[in-house]
Symmetry: C2
Subunit: 321 residues, 2 copies
Amino acid sequence: MAVYTEVSDEALTAFLTAYEIGGLLSYKGIAEGVENTNFFLHTTAGSYILTLYEKRVREDDLPFFLNLMAHLARRGLACPQPVRNRDGAALGRLCGRPAVIVSFLDGVSVKHPGVHHCRALGGALARLHAAGSDFGMVRENNLSVGAWRGLFAQAGAQADSVAPGLAERIRGDLAVLEAGWPRGLPGGVIHADLFTDNVFFIGDDLSGLIDFYFACTDAFAYDLAICLNAWCFEADGRFHRDMAGALIAGYEAVRPLAPAEVAALPILCRGAALRFLLTRLVDWLNVPPGALVQPKDPREYDRRLSFHRTARDARDYGRAG
Amino acid sequence: MAVYTEVSDEALTAFLTAYEIGGLLSYKGIAEGVENTNFFLHTTAGSYILTLYEKRVREDDLPFFLNLMAHLARRGLACPQPVRNRDGAALGRLCGRPAVIVSFLDGVSVKHPGVHHCRALGGALARLHAAGSDFGMVRENNLSVGAWRGLFAQAGAQADSVAPGLAERIRGDLAVLEAGWPRGLPGGVIHADLFTDNVFFIGDDLSGLIDFYFACTDAFAYDLAICLNAWCFEADGRFHRDMAGALIAGYEAVRPLAPAEVAALPILCRGAALRFLLTRLVDWLNVPPGALVQPKDPREYDRRLSFHRTARDARDYGRAG
């Protein structure tokens, strides 16, 4: 939650001359976004978000993310749409950083989602998967099963200082997941980070999806498993079966799951939980001095894993039948 | 530059039911404002700023600030206008903090002002003084000459660690200023903190004034002296006589200075510089651990004081005649 790069009125005014979005009326640094610097931008042509990409985003990946957002918006998905400059480029440079202007989306992130939010999320996720089906670019999921042992190597030695027995539990999960990770499931573009912060509602209606900077090419059902983890558990590990059932039903109302996806749901949920446990653990143990962002507690995902380890099939996640 | 208090969608939605500004569309924490937490707020009725007052603002002072903004806006000054709730109250309570919604003002703060910005500022300052002339409330300036010795007592012992000889220089200024501080100058409501951050421009036009949380009742020419310090010097102490002349001329085009104000300008400028030197010195020497805000360098005002100490009359500040 921070503005990492200050942008002066002079620098911004010069930057905007490359765009056809009118004159500058106002801009304010936004105190959200863990990885990048974001400004609310108001011009005579409308409202926008200006994003400056900081160190953790690989510049080589930006064309994938920006083209994807443009593609999804063209397909009617409510997501930020990159604004092209007079030369037709979406990616610019401001204050030494790669920088992009996208359309502003109204909507509010829900802190405590309920059943109807989860149902709406499921539908939006399935529509995202459908809208991305003819997207031409590919980006490997570099935080999937092949990356987890490497993440564990970075953090494993100190894992037990975070929660007793954690290293042993992770070793067990890794063995099961590496041996049994499903291959060949239906796939394509997935969001891969659809936490509550990245889903907007206006009143009861889902109004948009944001933050496509983990999007990649992977199994659709793995995206659903990420959402089940992110939306249907309390921090203390309590599972909301009704919300999970609504999320899956909302998804299947748009895109029914294949039998192989249904069967894989428990292991995909376990893998998704381990992915967030491991990245949070690495961040937790490596807070840089003077950090502006509070790292997220990895133990929440340790608690979720204890549920996933005992789940037998999709019915345990509230799926009917 | 920080959001000190997190506000959930549930808390904000409940808070907004007391207001007649339509349904919530969006809100974003703004990474500016040193003292308070600010959100950009978009509803079906328009755009607003939501402010939560943090510890450093005295709650007893809030009615003065809010009534003043309402009064000035009624008099046609472009400044944030507090929104009253259904009970007619501008001051509410949100997440345990006093909270206010004000109208959103477009405009951009100028990092490097020029002569024409200063001329526009002068005019706006004089219009502010005129618009406040029939405001019924009084708030003593608790950061004027009577407070400076107390501030020096908090920081003086360590002053020389900030700049060699600083304590001795401040002692000299204090003696001169306490002995010669002008009384009985024309006065009324002053802004008292009209730095570049608090003045908005759209293109070349001044579009509004914000942040009235140091406003008080004092000599008008002291407000002008604060602006001369804030706008017409470089950080290294270099003085822009042309900008100062434009600021004064812009002011006098709306409200000509009385001879006593003209005569007092050098000592008022010296006092204004000492006021910001002292508060910055106290903040500089007392950065709390984990502070989210970088304190401002007090030495900039030490350098300005060396100019003010040698100034003989208003002509040294670029005033014609």
